[in-house]
Amino acid sequence: MELNLCDGAAPIDVLDLWTSNAATAMDSVTGDISFDVPTTPVPVLWQVNLPTDPVLAATRLGASENSLRRSQQLLTVAASRLEQLEPLGPVSFTAGAETMMDLPRPERELLALLQGEAQPVSFSVDDNLAVSGLGWEQAQQVFQTLIDKLRQSVAECVSIETRIAGRLLAHTSVNWSGDVQTVWPGSNSVEEVMLHQRTVALALKSRETMLKMFTATVQMAISLSLRLSLPGGPLLVLPAVLRFIKQMLELQNSPQNI
């Protein structure tokens, strides 16, 4: 499986940073849901293709690094916001839609999801995400995406490649326990070396961030299920919480919300 650094137009992953060239559940929120986890995780190739202009290349990597940093920071913010979340009953939800509308979109949709109310009218006023059965499908897909990525990321080896306008610059292989093998071309500039080192750092940090996202999701799900006394415990809250985080991430990365 190849993961490519997102260039803005392609489908996005749980971090809003990488795209995949393989059509899997993790890359689509509209396709059929598949929980058919492959028995053997597919080795992952993290691939970054950069422009030839070294400054533009460095700038692009810098933007991705910033995006990843923001994702890590967002996990703390998400936990804080979830702690403040109070449930709203069916009456207030339907008759008092104004109250629900006052909430930020991620909170709104999380509450609606947990309350099991399909009230598309209430939420179709200002956004395109109708709260319906699709909400759970999306939540499951986001969750499946993360789990798939995590399974792949703890595979025996991950590979990381930097390309400049398609030309292979360097290849690094990192096993789970941290051993590193790198192959460089016979000659390379210092700038190219730096670019690949930053690519390696970006890929490995992405893997760490996904693990942290999983851990944070578990913690938040446990906390929320206890606080709201949700049946089924945290297990079934996991996808909803993860979708909540994902929505916050999307909003954060949306230019108009910066």
């Binding site: 009953g89 207030s92 990192v174 326990s177 590193v180 460089w184 006394s229 089924g232 297990l235």
Partner: protein
């Protein structure tokens, strides 16, 4: 920093860092004018300068300070852009600036030029050499309007910069190292090419030290009025009046007096989000000629923390009283910042005293050589993203820069420059108002000197006072300079448009050949890897590593782990307790089918077993978690099994092609370096060599990969254990 103009005496600003006293003893204007008139050196040295003044006198129309008619100063393709290298500029410096030169070349097109300054050239000689008119506005057909001088003021004198700046938009770059040139070039190009858009935020900082009239005036009559000007609070204006020049979409932070402490200033220049525009007024640090701190700290900004002149008997100004280059931390990101430091020596220092020459034998040396202040150098060449330009003063800055004893505040040049900066003009064009002011002052001085040179004229005390003031104001006005590319401009988001976070453009490794090669310490010799050694060859037959070398770059010690057992999904997995796992939450006691009520709001049951969808969902999630648990468990076991050693290998291949499999890539590659770090800290290293010895370049790459691997492993272990703990909690609850 400044002087205070009074009828009685000129009180000069600028604080001697070694003594805490004013840099120049107060004197009356009459004394000053006497020195001016008596100084033979003045007359000799400034003959050419006075000729310039005569020319300037004819050009008081501000339009004449722009490029020739029909050229828009905002368009580099019309104004042109040129770089002026000092003779014999190091090729490394030129190469370091390459990305900026290419960028400007693309913008200025046919009007891009690379010029060279010959030692001791005057402005006229320089322009003549390059075919330009020696007077009049800049004609891009001959010499571009925007000119970047590259070199220290020994190579390209400040005096040349002052002269050239009158008709051209001139900036200067000088750094001690090629890395800083490279970083500045990257900063400018990154800011101008990556949809970079800072918030419209400006900060005005006015220090007002106790019992110090200089900073009292600069804070109250310069900083505060300028901040008010931008925030549209016109002084003496009726309530509700709106200035035609308003910038309502700019957020202005004003720090005057107690707010102008070092901590706040450091935040502005090192915090998470420095402003786009920063204006400061304060004393500047000065030191005696030859003082060991002069080159590094002269021009540093004295902050509110300094107790003031009345307590100068306490001795030298303490480090915590001023902000120097040392206080701009490596993690600061100043990308996009344009700063204006009104302070003595804020931009630089000439070798000779530009102001009243204290003896008739010639000007006094105030520094071993002229130099650019280290603080703006640090800001511009910052390793994590540099400022675009720093405007400041060479030599002492004087109060007459902004206040007249007869006419009060004189802020038109400041306001006009600020206005044009906020309107998006390049800094060199916006700064022309200072040149205009210099022109006017020069015109006045020129007239006055003509009168004084008339042998039939006998000046009285009043005349002498006036001459002293005008001389001072003239020299003060000419000494404002731009450090950085004069074509840069504020990179801010348009009103209503989204802003962009400052990207990091950090150089991870130094440029080649700029640092000492990393060689293993003596007496141990590195084990060489002449040709594809087998990893096993690192050790000798006896199993001891006699040829082990320690890399000069510090390697993180591997901490001895304490093994603990984490049980996940029935499997017991050893993990490492040196990592703090999140505190487990208590598991709920509730069953799946129970009804629930929270805060009086009934939440509809969706997870009950009666729901087929919920049942499927639960099964799916459970299955996915179970698989991940198994994977993570295996991975952690592998981690623990291999934790005793970290191995980093570096290969070189001549046949790297797109589409090759990983196995093919490594199969065709030559092993060039291996590092193994054992749990007990023992390190085995094979280092690359060439015919000349250690291959420094490859060695540096390898060491960097080792460091990266160590840091990653530590962080991954923490994260994985946390994830395992999270899984354990969920499974416990189930």
């Amino acid at each position: 920093m400044t002087d205070i103009v009074t009828d009685e005496q000129l009180v000069f600003n600028g604080i001697n860092g070694a003594t805490g006293e004013y840099l120049l003893a107060p004197m009356t204007p009459a004394e000053l004018s006497q020195e001016i008139c008596d100084s033979k050196q003045n007359k000799k040295q400034d003959k050419e300068h006075l000729d310039d003044l005569e020319e300037l006198r004819k050009r008081t129309d501000p339009k004449k300070f722009a490029p020739i008619a029909g050229v828009d100063p905002k368009k580099l393709e019309e104004t042109g852009w040129g770089v002026v290298f000092a003779k014999d500029t190091d090729e490394k410096v030129k190469k370091a600036l390459g990305v900026l030169l290419e960028h400007r070349k693309a913008q200025a097109r046919n009007y891009y030029k690379v010029l060279e300054y010959q030692p001791n050239q005057t402005k006229q000689e320089f322009l003549r050499r390059w075919g330009a008119d020696t007077t009049g506005p800049a004609d891009p057909e001959k010499v571009p309007y925007y000119l970047l001088l590259v070199g220290d003021p020994q190579e390209i004198p400040y005096r040349f910069q002052y002269q050239l700046d009158v008709a051209y938009a001139v900036g200067r770059l000088h750094f001690p190292t090629p890395e800083e040139y490279a970083q500045y070039a990257r900063s400018v190009v990154a800011a101008e090419t990556s949809n970079f858009a800072l918030p419209r935020r400006a900060a005005f900082v006015g220090v007002c030290n106790d019992n110090d009239r200089a900073t009292f005036l600069s804070s109250s009559q310069l900083v505060q009025p300028l901040a008010d000007y931008v925030t549209n609070k016109r002084q003496n204006a009726p309530d509700g009046e709106v200035s035609p020049l308003s910038f309502p979409d700019w957020k202005v932070e004003t720090l005057v007096g107690n707010g102008a402490g070092k901590a706040n200033l450091q935040k502005l220049m090192g915090g998470a989000q420095p402003p786009a525009l920063l204006f400061t007024a304060s004393h500047g640090m000065g030191f005696s000629d030859g003082d060991p701190h002069q080159l590094s700290h002269q021009g540093a900004l004295i902050c509110q923390d300094w107790p003031g002149p009345q307590r100068r008997q306490e001795g030298k100004v303490q480090r915590e009283h001023y902000l120097s280059a040392d206080d701009i931390t490596d993690d600061a990101n100043l990308l996009g910042l344009i700063a204006f430091h009104f302070a003595c020596y804020g931009a630089g220092t000439p070798q000779l005293d530009d102001f009243p020459h204290r003896t008739s034998n010639g000007p006094t040396a105030i520094a071993p050589h002229p130099f650019v202040a280290r603080l703006p150098q640090r800001m511009l060449g910052h390793p994590d993203g540099g400022a675009l330009a720093v405007l400041g003063h060479v030599e002492r800055a004087w109060g007459c820069s902004f206040v007249s004893d007869m006419a009060g505040p004189q802020l038109a040049a400041y306001k006009s420059t600020l206005t044009q900066l906020l309107e998006g003009y390049p800094v060199g064009a916006a700064f022309e108002y200072f040149n205009q002011r210099y022109s006017e002052l020069s015109s006045d001085l020129s007239e006055r000197l003509e009168i004084f040179n008339d042998p039939d004229y006998t000046p009285d005390d009043h005349d002498r006072v006036e001459l002293g003031k005008r001389w001072t104001a003239n020299n003060d006005a000419r000494s404002f300079v731009i450090l950085g590319d004069p074509a840069v401009r504020l990179q801010v988001a348009a009103a209503g448009e989204p802003v962009t976070e400052r990207p990091s453009i950090k150089l991870i490794m130094p440029l080649p050949n700029e640092t000492e090669p990393k060689k293993p310490p003596e007496p141990e010799k590195p084990h060489t890897v002449p040709d594809e050694p087998k990893p096993a060859s690192v050790r000798n037959a006896g199993g001891t590593p006699p040829q082990v070398a320690t890399p000069s770059a510090p390697l993180m010690p591997v901490q001895s782990p304490i093994t603990v057992m984490v049980t996940i999904g029935g499997q017991t997995t050893p993990a490492v307790s040196s990592v703090s796992a999140p505190a487990p939450e208590s598991a709920p006691e509730s069953g799946e089918d129970e009804d629930f009520s929270v805060a009086g709001d009934t939440i509809k049951k969706v997870f009950g077993t009666a729901s087929k969808e919920a049942s499927d969902l639960k099964e799916n999630v459970s299955t996915a978690l179970g698989k991940f648990t198994e994977d993570l468990s295996v991975a952690l076991q592998e981690f623990v099994q291999n934790i005793s050693q970290l191995e980093v290998t570096t290969y070189v291949s001549d046949k790297m092609e797109t589409g090759q499999s990983k196995d093919d890539l490594f199969a065709g590659a030559h092993l060039r370096a291996v590092t193994r770090i054992k749990l007990d800290g023992d390190t085995e290293i094979c280092v690359p060599t060439t015919e000349d010895g250690v291959d420094d370049a490859l060695w540096a790459i390898h060491v960097a990969m080792v460091q990266q691997a160590q840091a990653h492993r530590t962080e991954l272990l923490k994260t994985a254990v946390s994830a395992a703990s999270g899984l354990a909690q969920v499974i416990k609850i189930l």
